[in-house]
C-alpha cells in the first residue's frame, strides 16, 4: 500500500525539525529511541504541572460527583463515535472482517444502544477494538521515529503524532459537531472523562516508577508495539529463550527491534 503524498511531506518536515532540535543537544548515553530527551523532559515537566494543577483535580471532581453509571454512558457515547474510524483503520490494515464488525458495533450501538449510550454490541459478543492511524502507519511499515512528548497529550512518537493529526482532522466525528461551542464542550468532556478513567492507572504509575519519565516512555513504546501487532507482537529474545540457560546466568540485553509489520498476514487472534 502506498501513502498519499501529503503525509510524507508532513513527515519529512517534522523529521527535519526534530533532527535540528536533536542536533543541539549533547548525546551521551542516550536511549537511541529518545534523541530528544532533554526537550521531552521539559515538556513532560510542564505536563505534570498542568495535570496536577488543572486536569487531575477536575477529573477527580468529575469522578466523585458523577455516578459510574453516568460516566459509563458518556464513555460509551464517545467510544461509539470512535468505532467508525476504528473500522476504517481496520480496513486500511487489511482486516476487513474486523472493520465489518466495528461497523456493526456502530450500527447496533447507535440504534439499539440509543446513540451509543449503551454498548449493546459488546453484550452481543462483538468486542470493542482499538485502532488509530498511527497503528495503521505502523502496520504499513512506518517505524516509530523518535519519541516525542507532546504538550497536554503527552507520550507520542513522530509516527504517532502524524497519525494523531489524521485521527483528529479526518477521523474524528466530534470535529464535525456544530456549533463550535458544542464541539469544544464535547472535546472537553471527552478529555475529562478519559483522564478520570486513568486516575487509578496514573496513581499506580506514580508508585511503580523510579523515574516516571523513563517508565512512562517505555510503557508507551511497548504498548504501541503491542497494539500494532494486535497483541501478538513477537516475543523479544530473552535469556530464557536460549536453550537451557541456567536461571542464574546474567540476562542478556534484548535486541531492540524496531516495530515492523508482520511479514505476511497477522497471526490468528487469541480469542
Amino acid at each position: 500500500m502506498k501513502l498519499p503524498r501529503a503525509p510524507w511531506t508532513l513527515l519529512r518536515v517534522l523529521s527535519l525539525l526534530l533532527a535540528l532540535a536533536g542536533g543541539c543537544a549533547t548525546t551521551e548515553d542516550r536511549d537511541p529511541r529518545d534523541p530528544l530527551e532533554p526537550l521531552n523532559r521539559a515538556v513532560f515537566r510542564f505536563n505534570e504541572v498542568l495535570d496536577d494543577a488543572v486536569t487531575k483535580p477536575v477529573a477527580t471532581a468529575y469522578r466523585d460527583l458523577l455516578h459510574e453509571q453516568i460516566r459509563g454512558r458518556i464513555r460509551n457515547f464517545f467510544a461509539n463515535l470512535g468505532d467508525l474510524w476504528i473500522g476504517v483503520n481496520d480496513v486500511l490494515q487489511g482486516k476487513f472482517f474486523d472493520g465489518f464488525e466495528d461497523g456493526m458495533r456502530f450500527v447496533f450501538n447507535s440504534t439499539f444502544g440509543i446513540f451509543g449510550l449503551h454498548d449493546v454490541a459488546s453484550d452481543m459478543g462483538i468486542e470493542k477494538r482499538d485502532e488509530d492511524f498511527g497503528q495503521t502507519l505502523g502496520r504499513w511499515g512506518v517505524g516509530d521515529g523518535p519519541y516525542i512528548v507532546l504538550p497536554i497529550l503527552s507520550s507520542s512518537t513522530l509516527r504517532d503524532t502524524a497519525g494523531w493529526g489524521v485521527d483528529i482532522f479526518v477521523g474524528d466525528p466530534v470535529n464535525a459537531f456544530r456549533p463550535i461551542e458544542l464541539r469544544n464542550s464535547a472535546y472537553a468532556v471527552r478529555l475529562v472523562n478519559r483522564r478520570a478513567d486513568l486516575l487509578d492507572a496514573s496513581r499506580i504509575l506514580d508508585q511503580a516508577a523510579l523515574d516516571k519519565y523513563v517508565f512512562q516512555r517505555d510503557a508507551y513504546l511497548q504498548r504501541r508495539r503491542s497494539q500494532i501487532y494486535d497483541g501478538n507482537a513477537p516475543r523479544e529474545p530473552r535469556q530464557r529463550d536460549e536453550e537451557d540457560a541456567p536461571a542464574k546466568e546474567p540476562a542478556k540485553e534484548p535486541a531492540k527491534e524496531p516495530a515492523r509489520p508482520p511479514a505476511e498476514e497477522a497471526p490468528a487472534k487469541p480469542r
Partner: protein, 211 residues
C-alpha cells in the same frame, strides 16, 4: 509413646509432602485461575480491605500471590547485564527491595479493582514445556479487553511467574531500562539506595490510597 509420636509426625509429614506434590503438579493456567479467583473473592469479602486498609491488602498479596512469583528471576532479568556485576550480597538486597516495590504496586493495582470480569484463556503449550505464557483478559464494559500475560517457568517448587505483561507492556522490560539508566549514573549501590528510598516514601504515604 515415642512410636506413636513418630507415627503421627510421620503421617503429618507424609501428608505435607503429598499436599506439596499436588501443588507442584497444578498446571500453570489452573494455578493463575485459582489464585486470581481466590484473591478477588478475598478482597471483595474483606471489610477492612474494602474500607481501604492498605496493610491488610499487602498482607493478602504477600500471603496468596507472592509465593507464586520468582523474584530472583525477575530481578535478574530486570537488571540485565548488570546482574553479573553485583556481589551476592547486593543481589540479595536488590531482590528484597524490588520485591517490596512490586508487592506495593500490585496491592495498588488490586485496590483499583472494581468488579471487572476475568476471561481465563486456555493454555496453549505442550506438556513438556517448562516456560509458558498464561493469558488472562480483563473484560470491562465499553472498552477493549485488557490482556494480562503471565510468563511462567517450571521450577522444583512448582510453576513460578517471572514476568507480567499488562496490555503488552512487560513489567520486567520496563524496569530494565530504568535500572540500566540508574546503574549507569549512580552504580548498583545507588540503585539499591534509590529503591530503598522509593519503598520508604511509599510506606510513609499510604493514606493517599483511594478506593
Amino acid at each position: 509413646m515415642k512410636t506413636i509420636i513418630s507415627v503421627v509426625l510421620g503421617g503429618l509429614m507424609a501428608g505435607c509432602v503429598v499436599a506439596g506434590a499436588q501443588a507442584q503438579e497444578l498446571a500453570p493456567d489452573v494455578l493463575v485461575k485459582n489464585v486470581t479467583t481466590e484473591v478477588v473473592e478475598l478482597i471483595a469479602k474483606d471489610k477492612e480491605i474494602r474500607s481501604g486498609s492498605r496493610s491488610k491488602l499487602i498482607q493478602v498479596v504477600e500471603g496468596k500471590v507472592l509465593p507464586h512469583f520468582n523474584f530472583s528471576s525477575m530481578t535478574a532479568l530486570a537488571m540485565g547485564q548488570n546482574w553479573s556485576k553485583a556481589t551476592p550480597e547486593q543481589k540479595k538486597r536488590l531482590v528484597e527491595e524490588f520485591k517490596t516495590l512490586l508487592v506495593r504496586t500490585y496491592a495498588s493495582a488490586l485496590a483499583a479493582y472494581s468488579e471487572q470480569r476475568f476471561d481465563f484463556r486456555p493454555l496453549r503449550a505442550r506438556p513438556t514445556d517448562t516456560d509458558v505464557t498464561v493469558n488472562v483478559r480483563v473484560i470491562q464494559p465499553g472498552a477493549q479487553p485488557v490482556p494480562i500475560d503471565y510468563s511462567m517457568e517450571k521450577t522444583a517448587a512448582g510453576w513460578k511467574v517471572y514476568d507480567v505483561m499488562v496490555g503488552g507492556v512487560s513489567l520486567v522490560a520496563n524496569y530494565r531500562t530504568e535500572f540500566n539508566a540508574t546503574v549507569r549514573e549512580v552504580g548498583i549501590e545507588g540503585l539499591i539506595r534509590n529503591l530503598q528510598a522509593k519503598n520508604r516514601s511509599l510506606e510513609a504515604a499510604p493514606s493517599a490510597e483511594k478506593k
